[in-house]
């Protein structure tokens, strides 16, 4: 089984973002591997470590500026075998490069460079654009089976059994035959920390670079971001002294309890 894992470089989850004149300010802001992409990488590595799955190779794919090479090195240090960097300076946080173009780039990489990819693992969403489109859109373009919000993946014969999160709990679906696309959710696994020896080994692993414009895809956003602004602030609240005062406020001031 050959696995392709999407890894996105995003603003670190702990950063409090500021809205500038052209979208969210990214200058000098700490960037990291998207947490859900990290879960996807971890799952790919666990599938490889599980000999029964027969994973031959894990390829990490990142689309973005030259700093994506650092993101790829993190994925390689966690256990991916090699990386592909599709270089573009277009902003990937919803402003310029949007999900449909990203999914089409994934499709091109699969069709032109990694024809024997059996499984694509991506995070369920990136924490900058908060779209969650790439997984299901790629599956749609490829006409491949999809399983989003995966909480558990088991190899079953030539296919997979996936337990996925739903609004009411979870459901189990079967993918009888690969190839397929799976997007990874929070409960799937807890990603490992890359050990120093693996970080050193990752420096020697191969990363191929391609230019996003060379794939013949229209990278222009179909959804034009006209403006980015901060949400309205909430009215300031107060501290209450005790439960009695809280109940009084809720009943007589807020009117939310009888």
């Amino acid at each position: 089984m050959k696995i392709l894992v999407g890894v996105k470089r995003v603003v670190d989850y702990a950063v409090k973002v500021r809205v500038g004149s052209h979208g969210v300010e990214l200058k000098n802001v700490k960037m990291s591997l998207n947490p859900f992409c990290e879960i996807a990488v971890e799952e790919a590595v666990r599938l490889k470590e599980n000999k029964g799955a027969g994973v031959s190779e894990i390829v990490a794919l990142s689309i973005g500026p030259k700093q994506c090479q650092e993101t790829l090195r993190t994925a390689l240090a966690m256990g991916c075998d090699r990386g592909i960097h599709v270089q573009t300076d277009l902003r990937g946080d919803y402003m310029e490069l949007q999900s449909d173009a990203v999914a089409k780039l994934f499709q091109k990489i699969i069709e032109e460079k990694e024809k024997d990819a059996d499984l694509v693992l991506v995070g369920k969403q990136s924490i900058d654009s908060d779209c969650g489109h790439v997984g299901p859109m790629l599956a749609g373009y490829m006409s491949w089976p999809q399983a989003t919000f995966a909480a558990k993946i088991d190899v079953e014969g030539n296919g997979l059994l996936v337990e996925r999160e739903t609004d009411q709990g979870t459901e189990t679906i079967r993918i009888p035959k690969l190839p397929a696309v799976i997007s990874c959710d929070l409960r799937l696994n807890e990603p490992r920390y890359a050990t120093l020896p693996n970080i050193m080994k990752a420096k020697k692993k191969k990363i191929d670079t391609f230019q996003a414009e060379d794939f013949g895809i229209d990278l222009e956003p179909k959804n034009k971001v006209l403006e980015v602004f901060e949400p309205p602030a909430r009215k300031e609240g107060i501290f209450v002294d005790d439960v009695n005062q809280l109940i009084d406020k809720l009943r007589n001031e807020a009117g939310v309890i009888p």
Binding site: T172, R234, I257
Partner: protein, 325 residues
């Protein structure tokens, strides 16, 4: 007709798209065929803001038009036994080929997030999801960066494929429609198979649509302590939620998670117990009408966001609150 024009490029003028305006609503699968899900009703009300053209409702089963809002003029029954993304995307494609909608709308739930992007890909359109405001038939507002920023975005696609956040729209009134029910023939797909559902059974109201939510965080220390919140929720007739920290730590299952990557709720009353108030959690509940925070740490970010903050040990405050209500 519209699909041919889409292939020729985005040369179609806005005026033509308004003239042919009509919307398809992808209904949340009905667990109970006697009523539409609250998220579907919110999607219908959102659709009413797009244009004055007809609205069609697509469901996987038959439903009595009397439990459907009057704004629905046609009901499409796909007669499918499953709600897998492949099945519904194929149904949407078939519906679009048959009726050439200008807008396709789904609720922004896990169901909608699973299905809509695949449907958009099938139609070769770029979707806009998690919409919280509709400014016109092609311009919308959606949150990014966990709601720390809002993006005003205009679709240039001929067919607008959209999902709407249920808490941002009122539910459409169920005043009974005179819609005709039409069968939509959809080929059975074989890419995936439904095996079973593991539904969390609860007598409590559903988290996404509850009027009152009592939520617990890492401060609860373990899963058993959540019974304190359940008792409070029951006294108030509310639902129980949790922060990602509580889910991560295994205190409660994932479907209780409120936040950027969990459920977005906007109840009349949200009580955050032992929750610090990270941005990611706030993005899932900051539209609540009244926010209460119970936390022994007065410096916790949530204490600044809450309308009423009680700085006290939750293991004392919560039982006292439950008893005195």
């Amino acid at each position: 007709m519209l699909s041919t024009i889409a292939r020729r490029g985005r040369l179609l003028s806005t005026s033509i798209s308004i003239r042919c305006a009509s919307t398809l609503i992808i209904a949340e699968p009905a667990s109970d065929v006697s009523a539409l899900a609250p998220s579907t009703l919110a999607a219908i009300s959102a659709a009413q803001k797009l244009h004055s053209g007809p609205i069609t409702l697509m469901l996987n089963t038959s439903i009595d038009p009397s439990v459907v809002p009057s704004s629905i003029s046609t009901i499409l029954n796909t007669n499918q036994s499953d709600s897998l993304a492949e099945t519904i995307a194929a149904a949407v494609k078939k519906a679009q080929e048959t009726y050439s909608f200008s807008h396709i709308v789904a609720p922004a739930t896990k169901f909608g997030s699973n299905v809509l992007p695949r449907a958009a890909a099938a139609l070769n359109c770029s979707p806009i999801t998690d919409i919280i405001d509709i400014l016109s038939e092609d311009t919308f507002v959606r949150p990014i960066y966990a709601g720390s920023a809002l993006a005003k975005v205009q679709s240039t696609e001929v067919v607008k494929v959209l999902s709407v956040r249920s808490t941002a729209f009122d539910q459409a009134e169920v005043d009974g429609s005179s819609a005709t029910v039409v069968d939509l023939d959809v080929e059975k797909q074989i890419l995936t198979e439904f095996v079973k559902a593991n539904v969390s059974k609860s007598d409590r109201p559903e988290l996404s649509s509850a009027n009152i939510v009592v939520s617990g965080g890492r401060g609860m220390k373990n899963g058993e302590n959540f019974h304190l919140l359940e008792a409070l929720a029951d006294k108030l007739g509310g639902a129980v939620g949790a922060s990602r920290a509580a889910v991560d730590a295994g205190y409660v299952p994932n479907d209780l998670q409120v936040g950027q990557t969990g459920k977005v709720v906007a109840p009349d009353l949200y009580i955050a117990v032992g929750i610090s108030g990270a941005i990611q959690h706030l993005s899932g509940m900051k539209d609540s009408k009244t926010i209460v925070a119970i936390n022994s740490d007065a410096e916790a970010p949530i204490m600044q966001v809450a309308d009423y903050a009680l700085c006290q040990d939750l293991f004392k405050a919560v039982p006292e609150l439950t008893e005195k209500l």
